[in-house]
Symmetry: none
Subunit: 207 residues, 4 copies
DNA sequence: ACTTAACCGAGACGGTACGTCGCGTCTTTTT
DNA sequence: AAAAAGACGCGACGTACCGTCTCGGTTAAGT
C-alpha cells in the first residue's frame, strides 16, 4: 500500500497521520456526494487539513490516490463453513450486505461504477481484486449445491448468482443503504431465491 | 416541454433543431462518461454545435435542462394484460429491460442515481414520475397474484418486487447493458423468482 | 502597436481603456521598485484594476507586454536646427534629459538595463529603436562640427559622444532623476565638455 | 566579516569553504542576470553546492548576506600621489575603471542600483562605505587643482566630478564592461574633460 | 418596403478553482 | 553541532473554465 518506497537516507519523515487523513477525506467527500472527476486534490487537502503539497507529494494523480482508497475499503473476504448451501449463501450475502451498509465504502463504489469510463484502470483493478474473487466464491458454493442435489441442475448458475447479489448491489447503486440489517436481509434474499415466490412452490424444510 | 412561452411580437424564431440537438448532446456526453456536475453548459453547447448563448437562452440552469432530458427518456408505461401473474410480471420486466438496454437512457439514470445528493429536486422528480408509477404497477400485479392464489401470501411483496427488478437495476448501475435480450432476460428472472432455485421446489407447470 | 490584429468578425470589443490601464500599471509598479522578472502579470492586473484574464488575453508573455510598454515611452525624437554645434548638442541633450526626468520612463529603462540578460529580445529592440537613432543623430552633429572646424578633429567622436550622454545615463541608472532641470543641465554639460575644465583651456566666446 | 561569533563548545566545525562558496554563488548568479529580489536562498544554495540549511544558518535574511557580498567586492581605495591634478584624477578613474571591468562586482552594483528602493539599508551602506569616500577623494583632488591654478575656479566642482565618473558608471549600468582598458580609458576621459572638445580650446601641454 | 425585435455566433469580461512551483521552516539521519 | 535530505505550510503563478455581457449580422413578424 505504500505509494513510494524511496531511499530513506535522511530527511524528515512523512507524517503517517496525513496518509490516513487524506484517504478519510476522500471517503467523506465522496460519501457527501462528490464525484470522482469532480473531486479535486485541493478540496481533499482542505478536508484532510493538510496542505496541497502533502497530497501531491504522495500521489501524483487522482487515479493513484483512488487506488489506495480502494485498497482501504477492501475488507477481508468471508469464508463460508460449507455446512449447507443455504447457509453458505447467506454467509456470502451477509458479508456483501455489511459492505453495502458501510456508507462510505458504498458511496465510493457507487461513484466508481458511475464513472468507470473515466477511470478504466481503476475500474479494472476493482473488478479483478474485489468483484472477481467474491463472484468465484459464490459460483463455487452453487456448484457444490448442484452436486449435493440442493440446487436445480438445469438452471444457469450465473443467473442465480445475479439474482442473489443484485438486490444488494441495486441498493448500493441507489444509495438506499440506511437501515439495512445485513443478517436479516441476506437470509430473506437467500430464502426467497431458493424457495421461490409462487404459491405452488412449497418452501423446503429448514433446520 | 417548451421552456419559456415568451411574447412573440416579432423577431427571429428559435431554431427548433437546436432544442433536440442540445438534449441529444447531453445524452451523448453522459453516455460517454460525463457526470452531471462535471458536465458544463459550455461542453454541451460545443457538442450540440450551437453557441453558449443558445443554451442559456433556453435553460437558465443545468437542473432545468436535465429535467427536460429526463422527460425525453421517459418512455410510455407498459400495461400488463392481466392474463396471469407470471405473464404480467414478465411484461413489466421486459419494459424495464428495454429501457436498461437503451445505452443513453441508462447512462443518464445511472448518473442521476450516483449524484442524487447534488440534484435533490431532479432526483425527486425522477422518483415520482418514473419510479413510483412503475413500482405501483408491479405491486398491483403482485397483490392480484396473492388474491388469485398464485403468490405465497406470507411473503413481503416489497421483497419480491425488489428481487425482480434488482437484476436489471444492477446492470444499469454497472453499465453492463450490452447484449441484453429484454424478452428472454425478463422471462428468466420471473421464472426463477417465482419457482425458486432449490431442487425441492418443483417448478409450477406453465402453459 | 496593436498586439493582435485578429479577425473582427464578431464578438464583444476589447475595452480600449484596459490596454492603457495595464501599461500604466506596469510603469507605476516598475517606478515603485519592481523588477521586470519579479513583476507578475497577476500584480499588474491587480494594479490596473482588471482581471488576470484581460491581461493574458492581450499579451501571452511578459516580453510582449513590455515591448508595448517600451513603445509607449518612446517619445518622438528631437531634430536639432543646425544653427551651431554647441546649440545642436544642447538640443539633443535636453531631449535626453527630459526623458531621464520622466520618473516612470526612467525607471523602466533602468530596469531593462539591469535585466538585459533576461530579456535579450526586448533589450535588442530597445537598442535598435531608441538608442541607435539618437546615437546616430549625435554622431552626425559631431561630424558636422568637425567639418565646420568647431570640434577638434583628432579626437575620437565616440568618446565625445560618450562623455556628453553619460552624466544623464548615469543619473537614470542611479535613480537620481529628481530636481533635474533639463535645459540648464544640458547646457552645462555641453559647455564643460566643449570648453574643458583646465584653467589653460580658455572658454570659447559664446553669443 | 564572520556573521555570528557563536559559542564554540564542541561539535562539528563549520566548513569555512562554504562561506566563500555561498558568496561566490551570489556573485555568479547576479552576474548571470539574477535580480536581488528574484534571487532566492534556495537557488544560492544549489549554485554553491551546499544545503539550504547551511545558508540559513549563516545568514538569516538576504539583506545580511548581500551586505557581506558587498564587503567582499569593496576593493581597497587608491591613494593618488599628489603629483599633479591630471595624474591624480587619472589614478582615481583608473581604480574605478578596474572595478567596473570586474564583471561580477559590476553586475552586483548594477543590480543594487536598480533595486535601491527594495533594499534601502543595503543601498545606504553601499553609498556610505563605497561611494562617499571615493567621491570625497575626487573632490579633494579637484579642490587642490583649483588652488594650484590647474582647474578653472568658476566651475561647479560637482559637475566636473560627475562628468569624470559618469562614463564609467554608465558603462557599469549598461553592462558594457567588456574590453575595457582601465588605464587607457581613464586617461582619455581625464584629458578630454580637462582640455575640452572644442577646436578653440588648445590642449594643455602634457609631460 | 421599412421598422422592430428576437435569435445566433463570436468573443471579451470578472470570478473561481486548479495543479505547479518555489520559498523558508522544521525534522531526521549521518558525519 | 554541522551537514544533507526531505517533508511541511504557505502563497503566488499561469492556465482553464464558467456564466454573463456585448458586439455585428441575420431572420421573421408587424406596420
Amino acid at each position: 500500500m505504500e505509494t513510494q518506497p524511496r531511499d530513506r537516507r535522511g530527511g524528515r519523515q512523512r507524517d503517517p497521520a496525513a496518509d490516513s487523513a487524506i484517504i478519510d477525506a476522500v471517503l467523506d467527500l465522496v460519501a457527501a456526494g462528490a464525484t470522482l472527476t469532480g473531486l479535486s486534490l485541493v478540496a481533499i487537502a482542505k478536508q484532510a487539513g493538510v496542505s496541497r503539497n502533502s497530497v501531491y507529494r504522495r500521489w501524483k494523480t487522482k487515479d493513484e490516490l483512488y487506488l489506495d482508497v480502494l485498497e482501504t475499503i477492501n475488507a477481508p473476504r468471508s469464508s463460508p463453513a460449507g455446512a449447507g448451501t443455504r447457509d453458505d449463501l447467506a454467509v456470502l450475502l451477509r458479508t456483501l450486505a455489511e459492505r453495502v451498509a458501510d456508507t462510505r465504502a458504498s458511496a465510493m463504489l457507487r461513484a466508481l461504477n458511475a464513472e468507470a469510463a473515466t477511470f478504466p484502470r481503476l475500474h479494472g483493478r476493482y473488478f479483478e481484486e474485489i468483484v472477481a474473487p467474491r463472484r468465484e466464491a459464490m459460483d463455487s458454493v452453487l456448484r457444490r449445491g448442484v452436486e449435493r442435489g440442493e440446487i436445480r441442475p438445469e438452471l444457469d448458475p450465473g443467473l442465480i448468482s445475479e439474482l442473489l447479489v443484485s438486490p444488494l448491489l441495486a441498493r448500493m447503486a441507489s444509495g438506499a443503504t440506511d437501515r439495512l440489517d445485513p443478517e436479516r436481509t441476506a437470509r430473506q434474499i437467500v430464502d426467497l431465491v431458493l424457495d421461490g415466490a409462487a404459491a405452488g412452490a412449497a418452501p423446503s424444510p429448514r433446520p
